[in-house]
């Protein structure tokens, strides 16, 4: 996963193509052409929704995969950004709703999410493993109950409704096709940012301090600060996803950031795999498809059992999620094609 340092620098274009890889180009083309064959439902409810959850899980993947910090509070961060959109933008719950334009609201929301994430990081960065999970879970739960009971700021249980995506450039961005491309665009930016981050000095140092914090400290790195900054970046990604989520639902209430949702993010990341930023998106697609269509397969009474069994099977067969599964299959397939000749 970690890249060896390339000594002689090749030309920029070469490295760029090499970095991106033909597979990702093909995937991008497929994603761009997807609206041509998909119905509106599949465009937003599956496509857009998967991309949004993929981004939230991506922020977790960045923390957990590169930094070894499993945070269950990423949905809280995303939800906070959503709440900011409701509070500073427009809503029809007659609480707050300052009606500021989207180009003011969105940066505020994303920045608040980043700061909130950094704060969560500051609280939990000195802990390891299960303790990080416990602290962040506690924060997520506390925030859930706080939003539920606080009426002055978060409008309690009903939350905010009637939140509209912006009209901009003559397009209403919640229409199926624009919304899908919006999600795709933001997701690609987040994905590329994480990929870039992983290969930057910052990301390499992060992976190093995941593997051996004591050594990194001895080398003069400020481990805690480094982790907190990572939390801030992850918060920005989760915040962007939160903004899209609130535009998608048109509403936000404490249920959106409940413990179930927090666990959902973790499930997505685990199902997808945490070795590569594509994992969370794969996981999100699988989880969203399962949660939408399991009810058609086994009926209303037991569909959650089917979902659970499916997830259990994936984790049982491949502890690294779908990515790990692929990693196991790939060598076999390679050999197969070798045997069959050119």
């Amino acid at each position: 996963m970690t890249l060896a340092i390339e000594t002689p620098r090749k030309s920029r274009v070469d490295t760029l193509l090499g970095d991106i890889g033909i597979g990702q180009v093909l995937l991008a083309v497929a994603l761009l052409l997807y609206p041509a064959i998909a119905s509106d439902f599949f465009l937003t409810q599956i496509g857009g929704y998967s991309l949004i959850w993929g981004m939230i899980a991506l922020s977790l993947m960045m923390l957990a995969g590169y930094g070894g910090m499993v945070s269950l509070a990423q949905i809280t961060v995303a939800g906070l950004a959503g709440y900011m959109v409701a509070i500073f933008g427009e809503n029809n719950s007659n609480v707050h709703g300052f009606g500021w334009p989207w180009w003011v609201v969105v940066p505020i929301a994303v920045f608040v999410a980043g700061i909130a994430s950094a704060l969560i990081g500051a609280i939990s960065a000195r802990t390891d493993g299960i303790y990080t999970i416990m602290i962040t879970l506690a924060i997520a739960t506390a925030m859930y109950y706080f939003t539920q009971q606080n009426y002055a700021l978060f409008n309690g249980f009903p939350g905010f409704t009637g939140i509209r995506a912006p009209d901009f450039l003559g397009i209403y961005w919640r229409d199926p096709m624009p919304f899908y491309y919006l999600c795709l665009g933001v997701a690609v930016v987040a994905y590329a940012a994480v990929l870039y981050c992983a290969r930057s000095t910052f990301g390499l140092a992060l992976q190093a301090l995941r593997d051996n914090p004591r050594r990194m400290r001895a080398l003069g790195f400020h481990v805690t600060q480094h982790k907190i900054v990572t939390y801030f970046y992850a918060g920005l990604i989760a915040g962007l996803a939160g903004v899209l989520l609130v535009w998608f639902n048109g509403r936000i209430s404490p249920g959106t950031i409940g413990v179930g949702a927090a666990i959902n993010v973790l499930i997505i990341a685990v199902i997808g795999g945490m070795r590569h930023p594509i994992g969370p998106f794969l996981g999100a697609l699988v989880v969203v498809l399962m949660q939408t269509f399991a009810i058609d397969i086994v009926g209303a009474e037991r569909f959650n059992t089917l979902i659970g069994l499916f997830f259990l099977a994936i984790v049982f067969i491949s502890p690294d999620g779908l990515l790990g599964l692929w990693g196991k299959l790939k060598p076999h397939l390679r050999q197969e094609s070798l045997r069959s000749g050119p």
């Binding site: 597979g23 995937l27 997807y34 064959i37 998909a38 439902f41 409704t161 249920g255 009926g299 397939l333």
Partner: protein, 414 residues
């Protein structure tokens, strides 16, 4: 390379499979049923489903000469999940008639969604928040079950006049349905001259009520409790343990079988608790008894139908009756169907039901009181039937709207 071709193929397959399925044949009609099949209200959602199935079986699975094809949607009682589920029913499964959802805030969310789908007809399940139909209603959202304030009809007056309670504290869950219930109770109780010095709102699933109990004033004559399921039992138990002795007044889903089967000291306090709702277990009209008998034939049915089975039954029945009237024809965007619905008036196991101009039901309500039966078991004795309660509780609409939207603070009469 293999990988990517495969990925593409998989993607293409996934999307191909998922294009909206066309109606198989002209002689079936799709009926979407949205209920809570997951989360805390699963048991209630399943009972709602029994009610809906009962109505469909009564019609031999046919509506307007077409075979009914049921498509189920599941939510976990949160508005987000309800909208997601109903979106799938409408946008993916191509359902033109939806029955549901089950709980208060879900109803408001589905109503908001209904406005974006003018060609689809939404008929409520048991969701009972007032503003689903009273304020800013959707043209294509119908409610043949009643709202939580209507369910309280007669209770406030009864508590004040017959029971002699002048000062009552309320304890209720913190969301739109209990707000509506408290509103319905206080509308009458305050008008009769009673006062409510303290209102406590607790989150759903609350376990520790000690701070709530401590906040209840000592000099109240009774406590109005609108808590559902385990919350109600937890509160009552802790209230007893804390030495509380004030009698109780129950919301529509408070005094259920778990409370009635309580033992010991709690039992003495529960006896004499009045409550009100859209059904009464001990209703002895032949229509109700026939309904109970039919209900019991459903798989895993309760000894007596809950108000969720009742609500889904009534609403599904209304959908079928109106479909019969238009010959199952919803090809005109459901216009004729909705017209038939708004004019519909029919006899249910609990009396006549018709709609007002906001497409909300006018129906009979049942005032009950917990009594001890001859066999020593507690049961909800039917005290009286309040006939044909409308959404404004008999108050002129202008005056009723002036009372303001239900919320934690409204109404207030300390």
């Amino acid at each position: 390379m293999h990988i990517h071709r495969r990925t593409l193929l998989a993607l293409a397959l996934a999307t191909g499979l998922t294009a909206p399925s066309l109606a198989l044949a002209e002689d079936t009609i799709k009926l979407g049923i949205l209920a809570t099949f997951e989360g805390a209200f699963t048991v209630l959602g399943e009972d709602g489903m029994r009610g809906a199935m009962l109505a469909i079986e009564e019609a031999n699975g046919m509506a307007g000469g077409k075979k009914i094809e049921i498509v189920k949607g599941s939510s976990d009682a949160s508005p987000d999940s309800a909208v997601r589920a109903v979106r799938k029913l409408v946008e993916q499964d191509g359902v033109k008639v939806v029955v549901g959802p089950l709980s208060g805030d879900e109803g408001i969310a589905v109503k908001d969604y209904a406005k974006t789908q003018p060609d689809v007809t939404f008929i409520n399940g048991t969701s009972a928040a007032q503003d689903t139909t009273l304020r800013d209603p959707a043209e294509n959202f119908f409610r043949f079950s009643t709202d939580g304030a209507q369910w309280m009809a007669g209770l406030g007056t009864y508590a004040f006049n017959e029971k002699g309670y002048k000062k009552v504290a309320t304890v209720a869950e913190d969301y739109s349905f209990p707000y509506t219930q408290v509103f319905g109770f206080m509308a009458e109780f305050c008008k009769a001259g009673g006062t409510v010095p303290s209102k406590s709102w607790v989150p759903i699933g609350n376990k520790d009520y000690s701070s709530v109990i401590a906040a209840i004033p000592d000099d109240v004559d009774a406590i109005y409790v609108a808590l559902g399921g385990a919350d109600g039992v937890n509160f009552l138990t802790q209230y007893q343990q804390a030495g509380g002795e004030a009698p109780l007044i129950g919301g529509s889903i408070t005094v259920d079988q778990t409370v009635l089967s309580s033992k010991g000291k709690m039992r003495d306090v529960v006896i004499g608790t009045p409550s009100a709702g859209p059904i009464a277990d001990t209703n002895d009209t032949p229509e109700w008894l026939a309904f109970v008998e039919a209900y019991k034939k459903q798989p895993d049915a309760f000894p007596s139908p809950s108000l969720f089975a009742h609500g889904y039954y009534i609403n599904t029945k209304a959908a079928i009756l109106a479909l019969d009237e238009v010959g199952g024809d919803v090809s005109d965007g459901g216009k004729k169907f909705r017209e038939a619905l708004s004019k519909l008036s029919f006899d249910t196991p609990t009396g006549k039901v018709s709609l007002d101009k906001n497409r909300n039901a006018v129906a009979d309500m049942y005032l009950t009181e917990v009594s001890e039966g001859a066999d020593g078991n507690l049961y909800n004795k039917l005290v009286k039937v309040v006939s044909q309660v409308n959404q404004t509780l008999g108050i002129p609409e202008e005056e009723f709207l002036a009372l303001g939207a239900v919320s934690r603070e409204n109404p207030s009469c300390p």
